[in-house]
Amino acid sequence: MNRLKVAAMVSVGSHPASGRPCRAPLDARAVEMGLGLDGAELQMVHAGDPDNPALRDYLGMGLPTLTVLQQPAQGDSIPALLQWARREQPELLLLGCRANGGEDSGMAPFLLAQALGYAVVVDAVQIEVRDRELEIVQALPRGQRRLIRAELPCVVAVGAAAPAPRQSAYGPARRGRIAIEPVEPAVDIEAMHWEIQPARKRPKRLKVVKAKTAAERFMAATAVQGGGKTVRGVSPTEAARVIYDYLKEEELVTR
């Protein structure tokens, strides 16, 4: 039986506190997911600067080689990655849902899938391959999970709820090989006209006070808001029924 060809596409992240280059958290999870696949042949590929020290951190996860499609760090990595994927024909493409530190648009999985004609699943936390079929567990908000089945070939974008990546060990990181492949640099002309500014924190909205009069604004700020239906003078059984019906209506209980 042929071994499943899997590729993990990795990018360089930046540490939230120090800004130093490091593994992109979701890409590292993608590599972790790839390493966990039995009987798969995993390749790691990166488009960018081969001298970036963070790349060694990926090698420290245990794979002997990281292919780097050499191009300026600021360039658009998608064309290079596509070109590589068309040549190498991996059946399963793993990458993080989002990069960490650049445009972070989260478009890469979709663009790759669209161009390659693969299926795409995002926010994956776990995958299993049986024959040519993939079972993917997808993370939903509030800790919920969904099962998705897909056929190979497929792009699986790994989410933050996926298992944490393994430790990057110094020995393998030092010994690992960075295989450099030069590619045509792709310049992102559109983005060159965009203005980049330091971000200011956007705190969560506190109150939407649409009140028009001063008195209403006053009340909105100082009094307890809300107030809905009140049920009184009913038996516990009836009370339970009212509550239960409400929960069902709002799909808080589904059973």
């Binding site: 490091c22 393994r166 430790q167 990057s168 110094y170 393998p172």
Partner: protein
């Protein structure tokens, strides 16, 4: 005839024992090479045995005396037996001497037997070790019976054939245990391996009253980093393991063992003995196990990976590197070195640091501090103190090394108190501010030599830019790294612990405590200050000058019990039955202390983590600052 039989017996035992010893030596030689001055070591051995080792053994008076009697008696007997019974030198005084030596051995062996067979401490291994006193008695009795006639006290016929047979049997048994067993892994192996271990000890600086506690640097270019298999250890390390007498003093001293974590240092050494002499299993082991584990599951061979077949990873990660096992070991075995060497392999080659270790190491690399704090937040604790930075003024008398306590609210209290006290004493000091990096202690104890080396080199480069006379730190771990471990990386600095500085300032009268301390105080010696740096007096001097009558806990000074905060143990967080700091707090409660004075940020955090109600925990300098009213 008897004489002839006896000579053959002795010579045969000697020969077979020697054969075994050579085989044993061959096992050790499978280890990595280690440069050892062979002759100088051998020459130094007797002194090391009689002085240095005796110091350790003498902490247990009973055993020390017994050992002098038995070992001295045995060695003398053996020489005299060779002279009297083998060489046939029939000098009366020699025979009397032999009788004397045998009697000493007999009496000593009786005491050994009493210790072993009576109300024995549980730390002692049984099995062959319980047989040993009997064997020694057999030896002594057998040769006494055979020598008495030679002395002319009894006639040759006294025993009759039967008696003579019994005597010969006893002597044979004794010779088998001592000489044959010495070479072939009987309990007496310890004498032979132990003597050579003393001669070829990996830390010769420990002898002659010296101290050697720094971890040795690892060649990061080596094809394999750290110890994977028993034969990855240096040969003299293997020799050291073989010297173990399974007395269990390490076990009794080990905080992780006491807390029910899966580490028994004695068993750890025995596991390595199984490994170096394997293939084999630990089924012959007759002592206490790693807590929560049972005998018969561990197996190993010289070229097989140690973890997990021979030793579970948790066993290695439970160690707090407190060095109390090393300090207690009468055979001067270096358990901590072994643990760290095995951890190095797990971390550097396998990427299998336990617990939160991976995150801590990753953060250290990314931010130069173990919790991933914004590096610029390193000076937040001092925002209102206006401490000059060396970047601004280039030189100072005293450099304050803040350590990573700078990020921790608890430790900041200590640092702030120190700054106030230094100001009060009019000391000229400055700090590195955001130029300071983690000293690398945790990385190194967790086996990440690469990160340690990187941090050490960068810190040394920074320190080398500036002028200062001394470095002071509140953190004994930083003290140890900077003082003892940076020299190997080219950084030689005069580093003192704040307790020493405070004692100095108090003694010079530059600080005059005012308010007395009402609480009943005990002082907890940090491992990295006491055992690692030998500093047990200065903190007590400070307390004394504060007018505190300190109450000592049972284990204090160089034998202090660890708080559980060293060696990355809080990071790996190996579960046990209890928490180490709880045990230490029990020690304090047992003497009715209302306040535990500490001198290490790790100790402060660990001991304060014990649930209330408990004695208060204050650093020395906090007490001093209170008393000075600053």
């Amino acid at each position: 005839m008897t004489q002839w039989v006896l000579a053959v017996l002795v010579l045969a035992a000697l020969f077979l024992g020697l054969l075994g010893a050579l085989r044993r030596a061959a096992l050790w030689r499978r280890g990595r090479p280690a440069p050892v001055p062979l002759l100088r070591g051998l020459l130094a051995m007797p002194r090391r045995f009689l002085v240095d080792l005796h110091h350790v053994v003498a902490r247990d008076r009973y055993m020390a005396n017994t050992h002098v009697a038995v070992a001295g008696g045995f060695v003398a007997s053996l020489i005299l037996i060779l002279l009297v019974h083998v060489a046939g030198l029939d000098r009366r005084w020699l025979v009397w001497l032999l009788l004397l030596a045998l009697s000493a051995m007999f009496v000593g062996a009786l005491f050994v037997a009493r210790r072993r067979l009576g109300d024995r401490p549980s730390r002692l291994s049984s099995g062959p070790w319980d047989r040993l006193p009997k064997s020694l008695l057999a030896f002594a009795v057998g040769f006494l019976m055979l020598t008495l006639p030679a002395a002319g006290i009894l006639s040759a016929e006294t025993w009759g054939w039967l008696g003579l047979g019994v005597a010969l049997l006893l002597a044979t048994w004794g010779l088998a245990e001592t000489l044959f067993g010495m070479g072939w892994a009987g309990p007496m192996k310890h004498a032979f391996a132990g003597a050579l271990h003393l001669a070829f000890h990996p830390r010769p600086a420990r002898f002659g009253g010296g101290r050697s506690t720094d971890l040795l640097p690892l060649d990061l270019e080596a094809p394999k980093l750290g110890v994977e298999t028993p034969q990855d250890f240096a040969w003299n390390r293997l020799l050291g393991f073989d010297a173990c007498v399974q007395c269990g003093r390490c076990e009794a001293a080990c905080p992780a063992y006491a807390a029910g974590q899966p580490l028994n240092p004695k068993k750890l050494v025995q596991d390595l003995v199984v490994g170096l002499s394997g293939p084999g299993s630990d089924s012959g082991y007759a002592g206490n196990h790693h807590p929560g584990r049972s005998t018969g599951q561990a197996s190993g061979a010289p070229a097989n990976a140690i973890v997990p077949q021979l030793i579970a990873a948790e066993t290695l990660w439970a160690c707090t590197t407190c060095r109390s096992c090393v300090y207690e070991c009468p055979m001067m075995i270096e358990h901590v070195d072994a643990v760290v060497e095995m951890r190095r392999f797990l971390t550097l080659e396998k990427g299998q640091t336990a617990g939160k270790g991976p995150q801590v190491l990753e953060q250290l690399r990314a931010t130069d501090n173990p919790n991933g704090n914004d590096p610029t937040a390193r000076t937040h604790w001092a925002a209102d103190l206006n401490i000059p930075t060396l970047a601004a003024q280039q030189s100072t008398d005293l450099l304050l090394w803040a350590g990573d306590g700078a990020f921790d609210l608890r430790s900041q209290r200590t640092l702030r108190a120190l700054v106030k006290v230094l100001r009060k004493a009019d000391v000229d000091f400055a700090y590195l501010g955001t130029e300071e990096l983690d000293c690398g202690d945790v990385a190194r104890r967790l086996g990440d030599e690469a990160t340690f080396a990187d941090l050490a080199r960068r810190n040394i480069a920074t320190l080398s830019k500036y002028g200062f006379r001394r470095i002071v730190t509140t953190d004994p771990h930083a003290l140890h790294s900077l003082r003892n471990e940076y020299p190997a990386f080219g950084g030689r600095f005069n580093v003192i612990h704040h307790s020493a500085l405070l004692a100095e300032l108090l003694q010079q009268g530059r600080l005059l405590p005012k308010k007395p301390i009402q609480e009943r105080v005990t002082y907890h010696d940090p491992c990295y200050l006491g055992r690692y740096n030998g500093e047990t007096e200065a903190p007590r001097t400070v307390l004394e000058m504060l007018g505190v009558a300190t109450q000592e806990m049972e284990r204090h000074g160089l034998r202090s019990r660890c708080c559980g905060g060293g060696g990355g143990a809080p990071v790996t967080d190996i579960p046990g039955e209890r928490r180490i700091p709880d045990i230490r707090m029990e020690d304090a409660r047992a003497i009715g202390a209302g306040l535990v004075a500490v001198a290490c940020p790790n100790c402060a955090v660990m001991l304060e983590g014990v649930v209330q109600p408990r004695p208060e925990v204050r650093d020395l300098v906090e007490l001093l600052a209170d008393s000075l009213g600053v």
